[in-house]
Symmetry: C2
Subunit: 151 residues, 2 copies
Amino acid sequence: MALSIFDLECLHVALQEARKSYEEGGVPVGSAMSYQEHLIASGHNQRVQQDDPIAHGEMDCIRRAGRRPHYNGVTLYTTLSPCMMCSGTIVQFGIKRVVIGENRNFEGNIDFLRRNGVEVELVNDPECIELMDHFIREQPHLWNEDIAVTE
Amino acid sequence: MALSIFDLECLHVALQEARKSYEEGGVPVGSAMSYQEHLIASGHNQRVQQDDPIAHGEMDCIRRAGRRPHYNGVTLYTTLSPCMMCSGTIVQFGIKRVVIGENRNFEGNIDFLRRNGVEVELVNDPECIELMDHFIREQPHLWNEDIAVTE
């Protein structure tokens, strides 16, 4: 299934979440979730805001979506290519479709997702790229902490 | 590095966390974390207690350990073999050693962990096995929800 206008709207919600996180002094990665073409949740990285190392944007969004019996029919949107924590979560929970804002600033695990049957749409949106690039230059230590890269 | 008495003490802390979760009506998986032979955190599954689908035992423990610049020198203890979410998290955060209570009730992703350079010690402790086996028989729907198995 190719990208739809609805997909781009949901990705824009994720970008707004990322910008909100940036304004809060946090890591600017945002996420949104749709179910059968309805937006049902959004969230953003909470490492700084909630002192929570596991709350990457995707994880916060999945948490905010609440308990679900399954994730059939769900698409997850994220401004940045998912790390191994978030990719493992997508596979474990059976989320079958992921729309990714960009993978220029962080490669992530797109091959892993596809090998595990996840349909991945990569947009490489200029606004997503610019926000993350700006943040990484501004706060390299915080970014390295978020992905646990030893400096 | 083989299992030490300290490792077994930490696994016992994880088992106590799992029992606490069971008593709270939750999924009985517990976890603990050590750093250079000191216990630094423990936690348990919070799906029911906090309505939090991402708070598996290992994730709750990592969250309770707080923000860290890196995970060198950390060992993670868990009563049950880690699912793909928790395994992905272990790899992303660079946790290099994991002690697993049992994998009889849930196989988990031990091969994935080892392929990614994680040292895995599998105990198959009778008390860990019995607690999880009892729970799965008692609450199969809740267990399936926790690992997102469609019924």
